[in-house]
Amino acid sequence: MKTGLILIGGSAGSFRTVCAILRVFPGNAPFPLVLVLHRLKNVNSGFCEALTAAAPGKIVTEPSDKDPVENGRIYLAPANYHLCFEDARTFSLNTDKPVQYSRPSIDMTFYSAAEIFGSRATAFILSGANKDGAAGAAAICTGGGRVIAQDPAECEVETMSQETIRRTGCAVYSEKEIIRFFSEPRL
């Protein structure tokens, strides 16, 4: 069976939701989980640790360039790089210009995931204050994958989710539905 993955893109207001997701996410999922969260440029420690602390029994790591993509693991896009996929089993980092003022950019990762994983990519868009992620979500749809946006009414900041829904007409989940999905996640 072709490999797949789940992606989450988020920005302002998404941290709490991501922590809630990580709390319920199983420790042995048969696919990787990749988080692309907007973050401060020169802050290299703390974010990963905070997320790991929210996910007892699990570890969140920031991949280095060409690190393997492994099932059951949770990855966070490192600060000041874009996170892409060299192939289905290998990460690739780059320092291209910020996209939608963001590096890491959700668009970048989602586009790359769409190209490499096609229909086996499932992507979530959470709370955020800019449009990063909407174009990437559209690419996921073009590639045959699935996109789910958090209900804008429940987002702390609705811009990112709203723009994604506008561009893709994707499914909309409440936070409760998102948590339920991640407690028994499937591609």
Partner: protein
């Protein structure tokens, strides 16, 4: 929603790489697929062409489009004092080691538009080493080498660079080093004294000189593992005894076979030194 071909297939990419290599003797086969794919797609979209065949025909027929294409594939974005804590470490731990020598030879491999080079020049000035230093800055692309020579940067980047400089332990007002204009800021001539530029391709290259310090930060991320291995081997052959190599914060050479020539100096900052030969 667009349904045009936004992805480049493996076959298309192979075709383009082979074409460019055969027709123009430029070999991109060692470049990371994800970056190549993204940049080719971007180029195609910007000039509004659909297929790999159309692209090849265009590159064949227009030397200007060829130049733009190669620029798109080979030019990387860079910034001054990227990862300030790395530059602090360089100032506090690495340069004092090099200060023991009468002459300090530094190679910026893949210097792009020069932001990192000028960061180094500023650091050398502030540590009193600029008169003893010689910097060779190389890149495959002559446009960016020219920009490095000019040392002119966009005004909108000034504030961010100034902050990074301060966080990196900068001792002056950042503007001390530049002539300020409306749209840009230009490096003062005194900074450029140690600077030499050279067109150079890291692919299939053999050592052309020896250095005390090689800076190659966030260049090899654009290469595949095979080319990374080759480049690390090149660097090992281009350093004096105990010479130092600095790579990017999230780069990783640990699993490359040629990395056995190096030992960790500060792995967290991705700084290595050349092992003694047995």
């Amino acid at each position: 929603m667009e349904t045009e071909n936004i992805f480049i297939s493996e076959k298309e990419l192979d075709r383009i790489i082979a074409f460019v290599r055969e027709r123009f003797a430029v070999d991109f086969s060692g470049y990371a697929r994800s970056s190549l794919s993204r940049r080719v797609a971007r180029f195609k979209k910007n000039i509004r062409i659909e297929s790999a065949d159309e692209l090849c025909m265009l590159l064949e027929s227009s030397s200007e489009k060829l130049r733009l294409f190669i620029h798109e594939i080979t030019v990387n974005t860079t910034e001054m004092f990227r990862d300030p804590e790395f530059w602090r470490y360089l100032r506090q731990e690495v340069l004092p080691k090099l200060a023991e020598f009468n002459a300090i030879r530094i190679w910026h491999a893949g210097c792009s538009t020069g932001e990192e080079v000028y960061s180094m020049l500023i650091l050398l000035y502030e540590t009193g080493l600029i008169d003893r230093a010689k910097i060779i800055a190389t890149d495959i692309n002559s446009d960016v080498l020219h920009k490095t020579r000019e040392g002119i940067f966009r005004f909108k980047d000034f504030e961010a660079y100034s902050r990074a400089y301060e966080e990196a332990g900068g001792q002056h007002d950042f503007s001390y080093y530049f002539d300020m204009n409306d749209e840009s800021f230009a490096a003062k001539e005194f900074l450029k004294a140690p600077l030499n530029l050279k067109l150079h391709n890291l692919t299939h290259s053999t050592p052309f000189s020896k250095f005390d310090l090689i800076m190659c930060r966030n260049v090899m991320i654009y290469f595949n593992t095979a080319l990374q291995t080759e480049v690390i081997r090149l660097f090992a052959g281009s350093l004096f005894k105990n010479g130092i190599l600095c790579i990017g914060k999230k780069e990783n050479i640990a699993f490359l076979e040629s990395a056995s020539s190096f030992r960790d100096l500060n792995p967290a900052e991705r700084v290595y030194s050349l092992r003694e030969k047995p």
